[in-house]
C-alpha cells in the first residue's frame, strides 16, 4: 500500500512550489512517485532514493582514496578544525533550512569565522544594489492577481524556474487577471533567443554587456529626453516604444537573473533597474523581483540579517559583524589566501566558483556537508552526507519573494543518517567544550 502526501514543498529553486504531491510506501521509507513538480523538482525527490547513495561521513586519505568514518569522528574533526582556525570560512547554507542556518550562525560566532551564502555567485550584487537604491517589490501572488506587464530581464525561467510562468507570472488567471496570458504583455531582454524569449510579445535582443546603458536609456525615454540613435544594439524608437508599453500598464513587474547580476556592471545593472522601477511608479504601479536560485538562499540572507545585520559576506572575526563585498566575500577571501579553513554546506562552490577560488580549498583543512558527491566534496578533507532537507526532514525556507514556507518531511532518510541541524548541533556543542564556553 502507499500514502499520498499533499501540499509538499519542492526544495530546489526559489520558486518554492508548494503544491507538489509525493507518493510514498506505507512504512514511509520509500519515495515512489512525484506529481505536479517540474522535471528538476521531480528528480530532486526521486534521486534521494538512489541505491548508491553515500550514507556515512568519509575522510580523504593521503593517497586520494576515501575512508568511512563515524559521525562522531566527523563532529570531532569539524569542531577541532573550526576551533583552531584563525579565519575559517563557513560557506553555502542555501540548500538547507533556517533552523540549521541558525545553528550554523552560533558556530560561526563561537569560532569567529566568516560566513557567506550562495548570493556570492548569484544575487549578492542584487543585495548590494538594494542597499544603495532600495527595492519596490511585491509577493508572487500580487503578480498572479494584478500584473499586466511582465518583463524578464537577463533570466530564462523556462529553464531555470520552470513552473514560475504557470504558477505566477504569465498564465495564471488571478483576481484582476481573469484572461490569464491574454491579460499580460511579456517583454524579454536577453542577448540570446531563449525559450523564454520565444514566449515574449517583445524580445529586445540586447548587445551583451550593455544592460546598464539600455536601462539608462529607458529612464531617459520616460523623461522624454534626447537619446542617441541606438543604445545597446536597440534603436531609439524601439526603446521609446518599450517605455510606453511599460508605463501604459496597470501593474508591472520586472524579473531578473544572472544575465544582469553576474555580467559586467553587476550591482549597477540592478541598481539602474530598481531606479527604472521607481521612475515607473510615477506613471503606474511597478515592482521588481530577483529570481533567486537556490530554494533557501533567501532564508540564509534573512537569518544572517536578523542575527548579524547583513545578508551575506559576513565577517565575524573581530567578535562583531562586519560586511564589505570585495573584502568579506567568499571568492575574494579564497583567491587572496585569507582563509585557513573551509566549511561548505548546502552548496557546491567547487562547481560554481572560479577555479582560482577552488584550488585553495584543496590545500586547506576542509569539510563539506552534502548528501551528494560534488566537485566540492571531491576536494574537501572530510565529506559528511546528511539527510535531504525538504525530503527527509522538514524546516522553514524562504521563497524568492521572501515568503516563508515550512518544508515537509515526506520520507525517512537512510538508516542512521543525520540531518544538517543534528550534525551542526553536535559540532556546536563540541566547539563550546573546546572553547570553554557554557
Amino acid at each position: 500500500m502507499t500514502k499520498t502526501i499533499t501540499d509538499v514543498i519542492c526544495p530546489f529553486c526559489g520558486t518554492l512550489c508548494d503544491d507538489v504531491e509525493v507518493i510514498v510506501s506505507d512504512d514511509g521509507k520509500k519515495l515512489l512517485e512525484v506529481n505536479n513538480a517540474c522535471v528538476i523538482g521531480t528528480e530532486k525527490f526521486l534521486h534521494s532514493q538512489a541505491k548508491d547513495r553515500v550514507t556515512r561521513p568519509r575522510m580523504h586519505q593521503e593517497d586520494g582514496s576515501w575512508k568511512e568514518v563515524s559521525y562522531d569522528e566527523a563532529v570531532e574533526f569539524t569542531a577541532q578544525m573550526l576551533a583552531k582556525a584563525k579565519k575559517p570560512l563557513m560557506y553555502g547554507w542555501s540548500s538547507t533550512n533556517c533552523e540549521a542556518q541558525s545553528v550554523g550562525n552560533e558556530i560561526a560566532e563561537l569560532s569567529r569565522a566568516c560566513c557567506d551564502n550562495t548570493a556570492a555567485v548569484c544575487h549578492g550584487t542584487t543585495l548590494i544594489a538594494l542597499q544603495d537604491e532600495g527595492l519596490p517589490s511585491c509577493t508572487l501572488g500580487e503578480v498572479k492577481n494584478r500584473a499586466d506587464r511582465v518583463i524578464f530581464w537577463g533570466c530564462n525561467p523556462a529553464h531555470a524556474h520552470p513552473r514560475h510562468m504557470s504558477r505566477y507570472s504569465i498564465f495564471p488567471r488571478g483576481f484582476f487577471t481573469g484572461k490569464g496570458q491574454m491579460s499580460r504583455k511579456i517583454i524579454v531582454v536577453d542577448p540570446r533567443n531563449t525559450d523564454t524569449a520565444k514566449m515574449a510579445d517583445i524580445h529586445l535582443q540586447i548587445e551583451q554587456g550593455r544592460d546598464y546603458e539600455l536601462l539608462n536609456a529607458l529612464r531617459v525615454a520616460l523623461r522624454g529626453e534626447w537619446l542617441p540613435d541606438e543604445v545597446a544594439g536597440i534603436p531609439a524608437e524601439k526603446i521609446r516604444e518599450a517605455a510606453d508599453i511599460l508605463k501604459s500598464g496597470r501593474f508591472g513587474i520586472i524579473f531578473f537573473g544572472m544575465g544582469v547580476t553576474q555580467s559586467i556592471s553587476k550591482n549597477h545593472n540592478i541598481d539602474e533597474a530598481i531606479a527604472l522601477t521607481k521612475d515607473l511608479n510615477e506613471h503606474t504601479k511597478f515592482s521588481i523581483m530577483p529570481m533567486r536560485g537556490h530554494y533557501n538562499v533567501t532564508g540564509s540572507g534573512e537569518v544572517f540579517a536578523w542575527q548579524f545585520g547583513f545578508p551575506y559576506a559576513v565577517d565575524l572575526t573581530r567578535g562583531f559583524a562586519r560586511y564589505n563585498p570585495g573584502d568579506t566575500s567568499s571568492i575574494d577571501l579564497l583567491t587572496r589566501g585569507e582563509i585557513d579553513a573551509m566549511f561548505t554546506i548546502g552548496s557546491d562552490p567547487g562547481a560554481h566558483f572560479p577555479i582560482s577560488a577552488v584550488k585553495p580549498i584543496a590545500n586547506l583543512p576542509s569539510v563539506c556537508i552534502d548528501p551528494h558527491l560534488t566537485p566540492t566534496s571531491g576536494v574537501s578533507k572530510l565529506h559528511v552526507p546528511v539527510a535531504f532537507n525538504g525530503v527527509e526532514t522538514g524546516g522553514n525556507c524562504y521563497r524568492m519573494d521572501n515568503v516563508p514556507i515550512d518544508c515537509r518531511k515526506v520520507v525517512d532518510p537512510p538508516e542512521g543518517m543525520l540531518t544538517d541541524e543534528q550534525f551542526l548541533t553536535r559540532v556546536r556543542d563540541r566547539l563550546k567544550e573546546l572553547k570553554g564556553v557554557a
Binding site: D18, L135, G141, Y398, V403
Partner: protein, 570 residues
Amino acid sequence: MAEYLIKNGHVFDPVQGIKGDKADVAIKDGKIVDKVGSSAKVIDAKGMTVMAGAVEIHSHIAGPKVNLGRIYRPEDKLFSCTPTHGMERMGGGASIPTTFKTGYEYAKMGYTTAMEAAMPPLFSRHVHEEIRDTPIIDEGAYPVLGNNWFVLEYLRNHEVENTAAYIAWLLKVTKGYAVKVVNPGGTEAWAWGLNCLSIHDPVPYFDITPAQIVKGLIEANEYLGLPHSMHIHPNDLGNPGCYQTTLDTLALAEGLKTHNKFGREQVMHLTHTQFHSYKGTNWADFESGAKEVTDYINAHKNITIDTGNVTLDETTTMTADGPFEHHLTGLNHLKWANVDVELETAAGVVPYIYSPSISVCAIQWAIGLEIPLMMKDAMRCYITTDHPNAGPFTRYPRVFKWLMSTKAREAQIESFKHKDKVLSQTSIGSLDREITFYELAQMTRAGPAKSLGLSAICGGLKPGMEADVAVYNINPDKPIANPDDIEKAFSRCAAVFKSGVQVVSNGEIVSNGHKRTLWVDVKTKENAQVKRDISEKFVKYYSVTQNNYEALGHHFVPNPFAIEVDATQV
C-alpha cells in the same frame, strides 16, 4: 524556583495605587507574592525606584519589513556593533537592531514585554522566527487586517459575525495577538499606486470606505471580546492638516462600548499620535494639532493612545502605510523599499534624518511631547517612538527626561536653529508640566498592560501577577540636579526580573530567562461560509496552499502563552 526580596525601594505601582512608598517586593516561583522566606536572595533597592517591568505596546522589531530594513542598511551597523561578551551574543544596528540586541536593550531598560506592531499574516512564520530569536522579553504580534480582502468583502456588506470568525481563524493560524489596522483601505489602493487619504475615500474595486472598515473591525473586535482593542494607524499619516482625518477616525468610536473579560475599557487604540496631529496646509505653515487631538481624546474615555515621540536621530521609517513611504522618498530622495503582500497588506521602508536644525523636525519633536503633557489621564496615554519610525526605542530614557524635566525641554528648545518657529507653531513653550514617576509608571506599565487586556498578568506589582520587576538607580525623593541623570538611570537598570528570573544586574545581562510568545486563542462557533470563503481564496488567489499557510511547528513558537477567549456564547 528562586525566591527574591527587593528591599527598601521606592515603589511605583498604579495597579495598587502605590506612589513611591518604601516597600518590599517579594518574588517566588515566577510570581509576585506577599512574602518570602529567609533564604530569599535580597536585592538592596535603597534609594532606588522600583516599578513593574515596562510594556511596549507598539514597536517594529520582528518581521519582513524590519529585516528588509536591516538588509538594506549596512551603514546602520557601521562602527556601532557590540561584540559577543558574557551572556550576550553579538549585536548591531543603531536604528534597526538585530534580534539579540533588541532583547538585551529592552531588558536593560527594564522592559519585559513588547508587541510587534504589524505582522503581515502571510509572513507570520518570519515574525515568529525573529520573536523566538529575541532574548528575554515576552512578545506578541498584531496581524494587520485593515486592507485584508476577506475583511473588505465582509464589511462591505457589514457582515460583522463573518468578519469576527475570520479574525478568530487568522489569530489562530498566525499566532497573533490583536486586530491591527494600518491606513485602512489605502494600502489596498496602493497596490494600484493609489491611496485613501480621508475616511470616506472609497477603496478601488472593493467599494468600501475606511470608515466602514474601521467601524466594522471595532464591532468584530468587541463581538469576540478580545483582550486588546482595535489598534489603528489612521489614514493621512504625516501630512500637514491630517489632524482632521484623525478626529474623523476617532469619532467612529463615539458611543461604542467594549465587551471583554480582561478589564479593557477602550474600543480604539490610536497609535503614534504625534504623526497624526499636524495642522497647517503645507510644510511652510506646518503647525501642531496636538491640542485639538488631545482635547477630543481627553473627553472620550473609550480611547487609548501612544505617543510616537521624535528623538532627533537618524533613523529608518517602516510601516504598512505603503503609499506614505513612497511619498516620503519623494521628499527626501533616500532609498525606498516596498513590498505589496497579496490579499493582505503592504510595507515600505525609507531612512529618515530628524535633524534639529530643520524646523519641521523640531516641530514634530515638540508635538510628540505636547501630547502626553496635554493628556489628562496617564492611564490612557503611553510613551513610544513607533520604533524605529520616530526614533530608536533605545532613546526612551531621553524621552522620559524631556517629559519629566522642563529644564531639559528648555535646553533642547534653546539649541534649535529655528527655535522661534518651534515656539510659534506649537505650545511646547507654555507647557510646564513635569511627568511624575507615578505617571511614568502609568504611561509605560500599568496603562499599556490594561489596554492590552493583560492587567491581571503584568504592568503591576500586585501579588499573583507575573514577577516582572525593574529597579532603577535613581532616588525619586531627591530633587533632580541634572536631568541627564534621568536618562542615565532609565538606560541601565540596577536589576530586572522577568517571570521571577533575574535577567539584568547592574546594567548587564545575567540570564536569557524563558521568553514566551503571547497570542490569542479564540473559540467561535463553526462558520461554514467563512470556512468556504477561506478555502476558495487559497485555491484561486493566494500563491501558497491553505495547508501551507498556518505557522505550525515548535520551531516557530517554542514557548507559547495563549490567552483564551470564548466567543461561542455571543
